[in-house]
């Protein structure tokens, strides 16, 4: 079972047993969760004729007593207060309340107290507290994501809310999957440790009855790791379709906003990229840019062929056939236009920012090459006028992450060059990154140069040559997954919480990356799952990162740490 059908099932069950016309009331978070798995036409089929958010539902005074209300909210204190006001002055005939996570007893009491009219028919907990954007990938869309880079003392309540949201999200994933996992976390990360321990406390102590699924306890695993263990993946430029769109344009809950770009047709200002609804996207989301171009050309040719044949309608039979196939035709037309617009936009950006050139050096910095050649390449690109500031910053960061120990002098030279070339980015950000995610802080073997076996493997790969220079990077997550399957994950690096012991190989593994996942890692997980049917990996994070978002988080954390008097 994968994530998207699970959430769909929850929503189906909510709406199924209630006959008649319904209104669905959501909060700003659950809107996202529902929108990625359920479409408006699905709702209409279930007789839900109005969707409102909990804020604007209270501001209107009009009563609609012919509708039954289905509320799907997160059980936050804020929502409970708003719900109180709604229940005190009911607008609808019946109220069915569904919460996406565990309710606390005082919250139930507050709601029971305000329900004077006794309009509430049921109160249930349906654990769909995450955004299932792809079958094996979920996100929590946490707003203050940069929190994870700061020590707790800077902002204790902020950190508490971040951890709470992460624990809630992870708990609901396991409740939806009906598993109780063994929990491991990355030793060097305090945030990961905190989240792992709080999750363990929830699953094994506070709500142990709820999580007691009577399956072999040890067949599933939760691994909580920190983004800073692999800072390279979010900084790299991407060349596979889904990852590339997110990197260059930006995907939010499977929606792409093309409004800022010129040359985009009117009806394609905002588009949806969903692997469930769009067959072409599902087939091509992990294809690299070159193959993607060929597939799009083929799709366009097929469509032109189809539209030409529909132009010479000879007989009434032809006409009738055309009219009956018109909805299909229109849908294909919309789909083709959408993909052509996206790829066109991305080609333009690649051209403008000279990304082919930049990305080649980036990949070499991440995967291969010696220090001297790297230094020369980075210097020449820094001198190149057409390279944008953000790309220059990324290059210096990638160089610094790899060669920070090897020659500090040259590193300083690069810092100076960066400061002189670009007005916006100072080298302070790079140094902050090194402080957060430098070689001393990392657990995993990011460059494969820590033990002899990996070094040998790297040399062999270097000699063999790579198929495609632009997609040679393999995220650290891939090696972690292999380690889990082969039982090679060291206890010293990834200790267990509590005294649970993992017997044998886990069958379901959820990897939660504190700080955010990337689409490149999601691709890695999906392809690994397809190749190895014995284990299922699910990937989730606090947000979905691209390089821009990662740098923003870094900048925000740096600003706060500078202004706080403690550090």
């Amino acid at each position: 079972m994968v994530l998207i059908p699970l959430v769909r099932d929850y929503i189906d069950r909510m709406l199924h047993d209630i006959p008649g016309m319904k209104v669905l009331v959501l909060d700003p978070q659950t809107v996202g969760m529902v929108s990625v798995v359920y479409s408006q036409s699905d709702l209409l089929r279930k007789e839900v004729f109005l969707v409102e958010t909990i804020d604007n539902a209270s501001s209107s005074r009009e009563s609609m007593a012919h509708l039954k209300a289905v509320y799907f909210l997160r059980p936050s204190a804020d929502n409970v207060q708003k719900l109180r006001r709604h229940l005190a002055m009911p607008r609808f005939a019946e109220y069915h309340l569904f919460f996406s996570n565990i309710l606390k007893i005082p919250q139930i009491q507050i709601l029971a107290d305000s329900d004077e009219q006794e309009v509430v028919q049921q109160v249930q907990e349906f654990y769909a507290d995450f955004c299932a954007i792809d079958p094996y990938h979920f996100t929590l869309n946490i707003q203050n994501n940069h929190m994870y880079m700061l020590p707790t003392v800077v902002d204790p309540p902020g950190m508490q809310s971040f951890c709470d949201r992460a624990v809630d999200g992870i708990a609901s994933v396991f409740l939806a999957l009906k598993r109780r996992p063994v929990i491991r976390y990355q030793r060097t990360s305090d945030v990961a440790k905190r989240i792992a321990q709080e999750t363990a406390r929830l699953m094994y102590e506070q709500e142990s009855g709820l999580f007691d699924f009577r399956r072999t306890e040890n067949s599933s695993l939760l691994l909580v790791i920190d983004r800073r263990d692999d800072p390279v993946t979010p900084l790299l430029n991407q060349w596979t379709y889904q990852a590339m769109v997110h990197e260059l344009i930006g995907i939010e809950n499977n929606k792409v906003d093309l409004r800022g770009f010129s040359n985009v047709p009117k009806d394609q200002q905002e588009v949806v990229l969903s692997s469930v609804q769009d067959d072409f996207f599902r087939a091509n989301m992990f294809e690299n840019f070159g193959d993607l171009g060929m597939n799009i050309k083929r799709m366009v040719d097929d469509f032109q062929h189809l539209s030409k044949s529909s132009l010479n309608l000879q007989s009434i039979g032809d006409m009738a056939k055309f009219v009956s196939n018109y909805p299909e035709y229109r849908k294909t037309h919309g789909n083709v236009t959408k993909h052509v617009a996206l790829v066109g936009e991305m080609s333009r950006i690649v051209e403008e920012r000279k990304l082919m050139l930049v990305s080649q050096t980036e990949q070499e910095l991440a995967c291969t090459s010696g220090q001297v050649t790297a230094f020369e390449a980075v210097t020449s690109l820094l001198n190149n006028e057409s390279v944008s500031d953000i790309d220059r910053l990324r290059l210096v960061m990638l160089y610094a992450l790899r060669y920070e120990k090897e020659s500090p002098v040259q590193l300083m030279q690069l810092f100076n060059k960066l400061a002189s070339c670009s007005a916006k980015y100072k080298s302070g950000l790079v140094q902050f990154l090194l402080k957060q995610a430098g070689a001393d802080k990392r657990t995993g073997d990011l460059y494969g140069n820590r033990d002899l076996l990996n070094i040998a493997r790297n040399m062999a790969r270097g000699l063999k040559g790579v198929e495609n220079v632009y997609t040679q990077h393999q995220p650290l997550l891939f090696h972690t997954m292999e380690g889990i399957v082969k039982g090679r994950l060291r206890d010293a690096d990834y200790p267990l919480v509590g005294n649970h012991f993992q017997h044998g190989r886990p069958q379901d593994v959820v990897i939660f990356i504190v700080g955010g996942t990337t689409y490149e890692e999601a691709k890695s997980v999906a392809l690994y799952n397809a190749a190895n049917p014995g284990v299922r990996f699910f990937l989730g994070g606090s947000v979905v990162l691209n390089s821009k978002r990662f740098l923003e988080d870094l900048g925000e954390a740096q600003r706060i740490s500078k202004s706080s008097s403690i550090i």
Binding site: D9, Y10, R13, M21, V31, S35, Y38, S39, Q40, S41, L43, L44, R45, E47, F49, L50, V51, E52, S60, E62, S63, A65, H66, L67, M89, A93, I102, L103, I108, Q109, A112, D113, E116, Q117, E118, V120, Q122, V123, Q124, E125, Y127, L175, A176, K178, L210, N253, K255, E270, V272, Q277, D278, G317, M319, A320, V323, Y326, P327, R330, K331, N335
Partner: protein
């Protein structure tokens, strides 16, 4: 998939809290302080029953006492939408009957089959009629009045439009397959007839001339009959084609209303944003209209005229006084 039902616990608390509230006449919910004992209890319960009236829709004055909220009377357009869906149900049933009639008409039979044809015609007309009527009422559903309801109405309209479109497509597919089979049969029959008539002519050549004349007469009548038969088939085909065209028209009209699946319009969050945006837009437009109206030439003219009238009256009075 795990879920947990908290309804029982909730009801327990609700009942417990209700008992805490009502016997003591606790002023926490009634809000008016005052007196002790009896009058307070009465006031509290009076106020409470007052409150049960307020949130219900205004067209249900017989609101019950504390407890169950009665489902208020739905607005008028709900009746229209129910009528439309009832029509579509009837159309679906008729389509089932039509399918059976088609099958029967296509089977080779001894009789003339004219009753079958008539039944098919009648049924086809009825179905087309129902679909057209549903479509007209659907168009009317979207017009007029207020804000809140308009969203619900639009969505109801969309869902009915999708169903109607599917029904029309199914109907047309059945029609066109019947048409095709009819054509095939007609050609088959022609072929058979011709063959028979050729054989007939061949066999007569061996006989006398007298008998020749007779046979050609028989042939003529046979030809005439098959011609009449063909003409009738032509007519039927034309009718079916006409209904196909009508349905095509309905389809075109409906396609504007139906949501394209997989596009941005099909996303719930997009629709919520748009509602918020359009309500704001509408509010701004209203404000602008108010301002332009205030500034408008009409108001100026009217004020100027009124002032002039006053001046004239004053002059008139002065004239009267002076003279």
């Amino acid at each position: 998939m795990a879920t947990r039902n908290r309804t029982q616990l909730y009801r327990k608390y609700r009942d417990a809290l209700r008992h805490v509230r009502s016997p003591a006449g606790a002023p926490s919910s009634s809000g008016s302080g005052g007196g002790g004992g009896g009058p307070v209890i009465e006031m509290a319960s009076l106020l409470r029953t007052d409150r049960t009236y307020a949130p219900l829709s205004t067209d249900d004055p017989s609101g019950s006492s504390r407890g169950a909220v009665t489902v208020g009377l739905p607005p008028a357009w709900v009746d229209v939408s129910e009528e439309i869906s009832a029509n579509m149900q009837r159309a679906k049933m008729k389509m089932g009957e039509l399918a059976k009639a088609h099958a029967k008409a296509l089977m080779p039979s001894f009789g003339d089959g004219r009753d079958d044809q008539r039944a098919i015609e009648v049924l086809t007309h009825e179905v087309t009629d129902l679909l057209k009527r549903s479509e007209k009422r659907l168009q009317k559903l979207s017009m007029k009045d207020s804000s809140e309801d308009s969203n619900v109405r639009k969505n109801v309209q969309r869902s009915l439009a999708t169903d109607l479109q599917n029904l029309s497509m199914e109907f047309r597919k059945k029609q066109s397959s019947y048409l095709k089979q009819l054509r095939q049969q007609k050609e088959g029959q022609d072929g058979v007839d011709l063959e028979m008539s050729i054989n007939g002519t061949k066999s007569t050549f061996e006989d006398d001339e007298f008998e020749d004349v007779g046979f050609t007469e028989v042939q003529m009548s046979k030809l005439k009959k098959s011609e009449a038969f063909n003409r009738e088939r032509e007519r039927e085909i034309e009718q079916v084609v006409e209904s196909v065209n009508e349905l095509a028209q309905i389809m075109k009209d409906l396609s504007v209303l139906v949501i394209d699946q997989g596009t941005i319009i099909d996303r719930i969050d997009y629709n919520i944003q748009n509602v918020a945006a359009s309500v704001e837009e509408g509010y701004k437009q209203l404000q602008k209209a108010e301002r332009t109206q205030k500034k408008g030439g009409m108001v100026m003219c009217a004020t100027v005229l009124v002032i002039l009238i006053f001046i004239m009256i004053v002059l008139l009075i002065l004239k009267k006084i002076i003279f």
